[in-house]
Symmetry: C2
Subunit: 340 residues, 2 copies
Amino acid sequence: MTDPSDLSATASLPLALDAMGGDNAPREIVAGARQAVEEHGLDVVLVGRPEELGDTGGLEVVAASQVIAMDADPASSVRTMKDSSLVRVAELVRDGKASAMVSAGNTGATMASALLRMGRIKGVKRPAIATPLPVPGADTPTILLDAGANAECEPNWLVQFAQMGAVYARDRYGIAAPRVGLLSIGEEPTKGTPLVKETHKLLAAGDWIGQTGAAFVGNVEGRDLLTGELDVVVTDGFTGNVALKTLEGGIKALVNALFAAFGADERTQAAAEVLLPTLAPLYGKLDPENTGGAMLLGVDGVCIISHGSSSARAVVNALLVARELVDHGVVGHLRAAVAG
Amino acid sequence: MTDPSDLSATASLPLALDAMGGDNAPREIVAGARQAVEEHGLDVVLVGRPEELGDTGGLEVVAASQVIAMDADPASSVRTMKDSSLVRVAELVRDGKASAMVSAGNTGATMASALLRMGRIKGVKRPAIATPLPVPGADTPTILLDAGANAECEPNWLVQFAQMGAVYARDRYGIAAPRVGLLSIGEEPTKGTPLVKETHKLLAAGDWIGQTGAAFVGNVEGRDLLTGELDVVVTDGFTGNVALKTLEGGIKALVNALFAAFGADERTQAAAEVLLPTLAPLYGKLDPENTGGAMLLGVDGVCIISHGSSSARAVVNALLVARELVDHGVVGHLRAAVAG
């Protein structure tokens, strides 16, 4: 159950932002933080090497002397680099000094840091990465989890992913009755791996639904991810990560080919300019910079994982999402859903 | 090793086409067969219910009284429906009366029929479905296997998929030194499932390469599938099927959104018409109707699996691919590659 007093206490705390994480850190990260404060009135604390942050516009800085590299080994980095920005942001949440952590840094290290410092929500077997997949023509995305936290999963973990995904769909996108699908290679419950078959039985039994308001729609396929007919799709972290990156790569290849066609000659360039106002919203919707990042569901605090290539705009969106999820009390809702 | 006399004997035989398989069967299938004969000079024998085939234009018909439905259980259908068109096409190949089988019918039943009637190539542990993924801007596709034949795999099966995929890349696309990647969730050999980690070791050791001319480029991610930097990607049939369908669904969603934007008003329609000649080749390349279908690699004969929604054009392309692969002696090359 959510403790309302605890919720309001958390809600008044600043967001802890890893200023050193990401391909464009710290410049774009600091720029995003400043923009979030100036334009959206958010309360943000930067964590990193003060001397490298440039002009922070007067934002509070918590010093952290170490930086976990984008390609560093997650577990050993978090274990040995105790004064790294990624470890410190998680500690700020753990110690009640921040309401959420946000990082565009090493994804594995972000997970490890959140897990080791914040711990899991009681009863959660494994945290999962929930990534929103933008659906052209729909108001809300399809939430995919696990998008990469656990390469191997057990059936009851996937059932918890369904519970947590449903809570996330409601708290972040206002979806009261999330439609939950299980990713497989055919709609028949008899198809797929032993993991999928066993998970299907558990999800179909429905004991997990509780107060999540979710409905299990059965097995779904890769081609169903962007139809707008699903709100949450659960799968193991290996399959989920492959699906997510396949989709990103496919859309990127197609968009690049479109731009090449638009730029072919003067006539096509003129035609493309006419189409620009109509295509811009679609392009904006598909841009990962605008999704606000993924959330690590199941750790005992709000942890937002932003794309490694995040620009200032992506950082602003990630901070806005973090703020919104804290205000909605998502961690309390996750706790209640998993407790049943 | 290939037996040249056997090869030339096979090459002179007709292609056996399942006239009853597919969402648009038999009409589109028969139309495709006629077109392939009339426009491309192919030798095709239709297999199905003679009274339902309409005007076959004088094509030879082998009667088969039963039809395996698109959603029928594959194994039991093939076992019990011995006079089905799908079983008969495989028998024609087995009995030396046809050089290849082609079907747009039930994929699982096509695999079962090919496997049970033709058998496996000696030494092949499991056949795999090899599906070409069209790459915008590149001359040749990325070949993905297994795209769905085996939901669960073992490391040495994936090594054979690499061997067979390399042979296929050469025989079908003329790629002399295929670049082979292993699908995972990070480039590091330490990432992924136990299956991926073990397979990586075997592929990196290189004993499998033999005369395939292949080069192992290491682990690749979903986003690498359409970059044009890979020729063959191996994975288990669950992950491969999810990746394939995710890509199909993502491209379809994007293309639909583009068409909606093009048709928004008179100005956008006029602009879209200007772009049409430039966009048409891209659209044609991405259309599954034009890929010529997937091949089931590892059975002892050429088996082409066409999309269930195949039109006459898709059937023509599948027949052309079947003919080409027979003429190139792909089964003999697969035999040699697996034997080492």
